[in-house]
């Protein structure tokens, strides 16, 4: 029995934290936290963060970082919005944007892996560069484009409301299932864990660790681009700061969900809950009428707290 109580899976703990937050915010907001309107708002907001966080999780398990996901999603969204404006098919626009995301991921991956530069530095550079490109092209102006009116079917398919659930929540859900299958049940997932867990062992066993890492970078780029296009489509426009700070939120979601900063460990389910926790915090504080300025203070503390508890837990288990 004792042994069982010690080996509580990480997902259960993070699930518990999400549940506790729901309880707290339900109480402090006098019930408004669980009204359909608030739930719908959260379901609308969570997938854009969550989709990026999924990619970031896979990449972190492989032992690399990507700080450029926010800028990448913005540049891809800008490309999509521009294509919309030129009157191109929205599907072509989406595919081009995803392709651009893939190319951005490829650039990050090749420079980090083949150039032997820590990805923290590579992607810090590309974060600035791609955000800079966005400003160069838009001159900081807001671009408005009503996708819903011009391409109603595309809009509904991507982000429209299907009952109370927004369409992109279903996309998010589908991607979670896919990511789970790939990570835990597929050969490629085994290679990701091996690469992040012990690069030398993976290499000795014939795994092409460079290719695994580059593939993960590309995946992150595509997912970031998808999230960017979803957001621009949903808010019917583009502004140059779109996705700013998303990189750190995505890492926070992954880390709260138990993804290791050193590679080799992490779960898709954990990241799903991590995304929920961040979303609950953001909207729970609002409906509880706590000043929005507290959001980052609390989120930051939570990230450090979760990792600290995890470490103490591990040390105790080892002794």
């Amino acid at each position: 029995m004792l042994k069982k109580s010690i080996s509580i899976p990480r997902e259960a703990i993070i699930g518990g934290i999400s549940g506790t937050l729901i309880g707290i915010f339900y109480a402090t907001s006098r019930g408004t936290f669980l009204t359909p309107g608030v739930i719908q708002t959260m379901l609308t907001s969570a997938p854009e963060l969550g989709i990026i966080a999924l990619g970031v999780t896979l990449l972190m398990i492989a032992g690399e970082f990507d700080l450029s996901v926010g800028s990448c999603s913005a540049l891809a969204a800008l490309l999509a919005i521009s294509c919309f404006q030129w009157g191109w098919s929205p599907y072509v626009a989406l595919i081009l944007a995803l392709g651009a995301g893939a190319v951005m991921g490829l650039v990050n991956g090749v420079i980090s892996v083949k150039g032997g530069i820590p990805s923290f530095i590579t992607t810090l550079g590309s974060m600035l560069a791609w955000r800079g490109l966005v400003y160069v092209v838009t001159m900081g102006r807001v671009i408005n484009f009503n996708v819903e009116k011009q391409h109603p079917f595309f809009y509904t398919l991507l982000v429209g409301n299907v009952t109370v659930f927004p369409a992109h929540f279903f996309w998010f859900f589908g991607l979670i299932v896919l990511a789970f299958l790939f990570l835990n049940r597929h050969r490629f997932g085994n290679h990701i864990f091996a690469t992040g867990g012990n690069k030398e062992a993976a290499r000795a066993m014939g795994i092409n660790v460079d290719m695994v890492k580059i593939a993960c970078f590309i995946l992150v780029g595509i997912l970031a681009a998808l999230a960017g296009v979803m957001r621009a489509t949903r808010i019917r426009g583009f502004y140059a700061q779109q996705g700013d700070g998303m990189e750190l939120m995505a890492i926070a979601a992954a880390v709260i969900g138990g993804t290791s900063l050193f590679g080799g460990a992490g779960t898709v389910i954990g990241t799903f809950f991590g995304t929920l926790v961040i979303t609950f915090l953001e909207y729970g504080l609002i409906v509880s009428r706590v000043s929005g300025y507290w959001y980052r203070v609390i989120l930051g503390s939570l990230v450090v707290l979760v990792v600290l508890v995890d470490r103490l837990w591990m040390v105790r288990r080892r002794s």
Partner: protein, 244 residues
């Protein structure tokens, strides 16, 4: 028997790291099922030589023949496909992964679409664990929960399972307890019984001596002695190493 083609033949292999001449013209052969003790002091070039055979480094000069055919070992994956399997103590396994996942790492058994066939992999893995006499109860056990000797056992069992012809063991007994060292030496004897050759690299001549058939001694990048076990003694080998 003496006329058989050796499993591997190394001819005049050189390796430079910048100006450092790490391996100076090593030549030797290894027959099938032969256990070679590769000994020498720190920096003698043992590791470099092993890494060339494992596909980590390319030799700057020289030739390697496997079963009589000239090969250029391009990568660890290529070495593996030629039947050369590496068992590094620190680098053989991934601590955070299960025994099964480690066992089949890079050579997973999959169903259509590349999905892992855990039922089959778990069963095969447990078979090997039992025949090796390891007391690992579940293939889902994380490798970090195994002892140093058990880890070596899993890595060596993996080499056997995948029908390696030559296993490279780099310091497999380092940091192990006396009991565990004995276990690892037994695993190496198992290799021999299956007709698998091995190169056993170690500082500890006493560990190497017991299980090896032949010894290669290196000093400052040179292969200075190649002796059958019957023709030499521990004392002689030690004096060869210390004299250089």
């Amino acid at each position: 028997m003496k006329e058989q083609i050796p499993f591997i033949e190394v001819r005049e292999v050189h390796k430079w790291y910048g100006k450092v001449h790490a391996v100076k013209g090593a030549s030797f052969t290894i027959n099938q099922g032969e256990i070679i003790g590769l000994i020498g002091d720190n920096g003698a070039g043992k590791s470099t030589l092993i890494k060339i055979l494992a596909g980590y480094h390319r030799p700057d000069a020289g030739e390697i023949y496997i079963q009589g055919e000239r090969v250029n070992i391009k990568s660890p994956a290529h070495a593996r496909s030629l039947g050369i399997e590496t068992v590094y103590q620190e680098q053989a396994l991934v601590d955070l992964m299960s025994v099964t996942r480690n066992f089949f790492m890079g050579r997973e058994i999959t169903t259509r679409g590349g999905f892992l066939d855990f039922r089959k992999m778990d069963a095969e893995c447990m078979d090997v664990i039992r025949t090796m006499g390891l007391s690992i109860s579940s293939p889902k056990t994380l490798v970090k929960q195994l002892s140093g000797g058990e880890k070596q056992g899993v890595a060596i069992g993996r080499a056997m399972y995948f029908k390696a012809k030559l296993v490279l063991l780099d310091e497999p007994t380092r940091n192990l307890s006396v009991k565990e060292v004995q276990k690892v030496l037994d695993f190496i004897k198992n290799l021999k019984e299956l007709g698998i050759a091995a190169i056993f690299v170690s500082h500890n001549i006493y560990h190497v001596f017991d299980v090896s058939d032949r010894f290669l001694v290196m000093a400052r990048g040179e292969l200075i002695k190649d002796a059958q076990k019957e023709t030499t003694t521990i004392e002689e080998l030690i004096s060869v190493i210390t004299r250089h």
